[in-house]
Amino acid sequence: MFNSTLFRQIAASNHKLFIVITAILSALITVIMSVFVPSTISQIAEANKNAGLNPLGDISTLSDFVGNQYFGMFALILCIIYTVVLGNRMIAGQVDRGSMAYHLAAPISRTTLTVTSAIYLVSSLAVMFAIVFGVGCGVAEIAQPGKLDISTFLTLTFGFFLLQTALSGIVFVASCVFNRSSQSLTLGAGISIFFFVANLLSGLSSKLESLKHITIITLYDSKAIINDGSYVSGLIILIVIGIIFFAAGIVTFRRKDLPL
């Protein structure tokens, strides 16, 4: 089911992508934690008081800003890029290139291959957000000691990790179903982007609010997390979605014909 040699090989061949995305995410959280000190936030809130539509969303506290802007926008886009590229590269990309033959002939069973790949995908996201959380807390501690609500930040980060796991499950299943990189990318990226856009539009006007029911991103309710609302059920659904999609990918890949 799990092969450590294969895991190390996957990590070695994808470390650059991981480092780049993690570095950008860390840099962004550093900027946010150091720039949005209480005085800046109150200034922005003051300036936006009479604006009809606030382009930054509700940002009356640091947690709001982190929830809305960081996890609602920057990190979301970057992580979608990360999972789409990585998810596709791990399975469909290798089948398309033909290099999958080397792993399977090695011999690694198909199930071991997909399970190990899925574990890498999820654990790399976990490590990525552990780093983001650590950097965020560290910078906040230096720039504005005591102003960051660490437990809220932890829940926001952890919930976001679950959201990314669910999204990566979709990319993963697309990668396991298709033998062509182009098809896997179209479906994996297509659905992820669709969810992202639907989430964005649902927040823009009350007419489009119903769109929030067709995107899984709204299951990660950062407002509820910040305001101690009910967010747990949404996160549980995300876990279930993730498990279903990863399992579907693993089962599909075990049964299909490979053009190798």
Binding site: L6, R97, G98, Y102, L104, A105, A106, P107, L260
Partner: protein
């Protein structure tokens, strides 16, 4: 004992594309040459043997293990060289060789090192930067380094220079002496002729000929080129039973194809005249194969 067994295997992509009711066996210690035009179904058959593709009907088994449901056990005994080599990304040749030897839990790299030396390979470079021939050498090392009982080689000498092709043929002959069973597809007749015990020809998804190499060699008549001092002596061969294939009256040479059973008759006829030279035109399997490729000998 049959090592590789394909029984009535069918996998159709369209009505003419695919493989249909295909059967073949490779016995212990046998080298089976698998030849046929592009798109005839060689690689499709090999995909079944490696467990990459599920049969529509029929069965492929290796060492009595089912190639589809027990592919991982099968793979342990197998060395595989794919036709179009595509290596994992971002690796050097040595990384790949180490990685595969780790996966196979090899105790040492002795055989790998020996092969690297033998093929004069420098595996330190990035795989993506390697030339076709160098990649092929890396592929050969990966297929042979764990000393597998069974080898499946899909067009193994593509991209190798003639010297390296000869090194490869030697390697296959050595493995054969060790009792390894080998299935090898190729378009290079020489390579097939000098290594294979049995040759199967596949066309449009069907095996249309499956013969021992010796049978093919013996079944063809022998061809001799005979030169004469006197043109008049040539007349002897122009009209009677020998039916020359070629008559070159400028040089004074005839080319005769005869059955072995008639060789004494020929010698007696030749003994009465003044012969300048006589040599056998080496019969190549090529002619035999070429017929099948063109579809002259059989309609499918």
């Amino acid at each position: 004992m049959s090592i590789i067994q394909v029984e009535k295997l069918t996998k159709s992509f369209t009505t003419t594309k695919g493989i249909f009711n295909l059967s073949l066996t490779v016995n212990q210690g046998e080298v089976f040459g698998f030849i046929g035009p592009n798109g005839a179904g060689k690689t499709t058959t090999i995909r079944h043997l490696l467990g990459f593709t599920k049969p529509q009907s029929g069965k492929a088994s290796i060492l009595n293990l089912d190639c589809w449901s027990q592919s991982q056990q099968v793979q342990r005994h197998l060395g595989y060289l794919p036709a179009e080599i595509a290596f994992p990304e971002n690796m050097t040749g040595m990384h790949l060789i180490r990685y595969l030897s780790d996966l196979r839990k090899l105790r040492n790299m002795k055989k790998a090192e020996e092969l690297i030396h033998r093929f004069e390979l420098d595996p330190s470079g990035k795989l993506s930067r390697m030339s076709k021939g160098t990649k092929q050498k890396v592929g050969i090392v990966c297929a042979f380094m764990h000393d597998p009982e069974i080898l499946i080689l899909d067009e193994p000498t593509t991209g190798l220079d003639p010297l390296m092709q000869a090194v490869f043929i030697n390697l296959v002959q050595e493995e054969k002496l060790k009792g390894r069973s080998i299935l090898m597809s190729s378009h290079v007749f020489e390579e097939i002729e000098s290594t294979c015990d049995r040759i199967g020809i596949i066309k449009q998804g069907r095996i249309i000929s499956n013969m021992r190499t010796e049978e093919i060699r013996n079944s063809s008549k022998r061809t001799y080129a005979i030169e004469f001092f006197e043109r008049t002596d040539m007349a002897l061969f122009e009209n009677d039973a020998f039916k020359p294939k070629e008559v070159d009256s400028e040089v004074g040479r005839v080319v005769i194809e005869i059955e072995d059973s008639k060789i004494n008759e020929l010698l007696r006829a030749l003994s009465t005249i003044n012969v300048k030279s006589m040599r056998e035109v080496p019969s190549s399997l090529e002619e035999h194969f070429r017929g099948y490729y063109k579809g002259e000998q059989i309609d499918v």
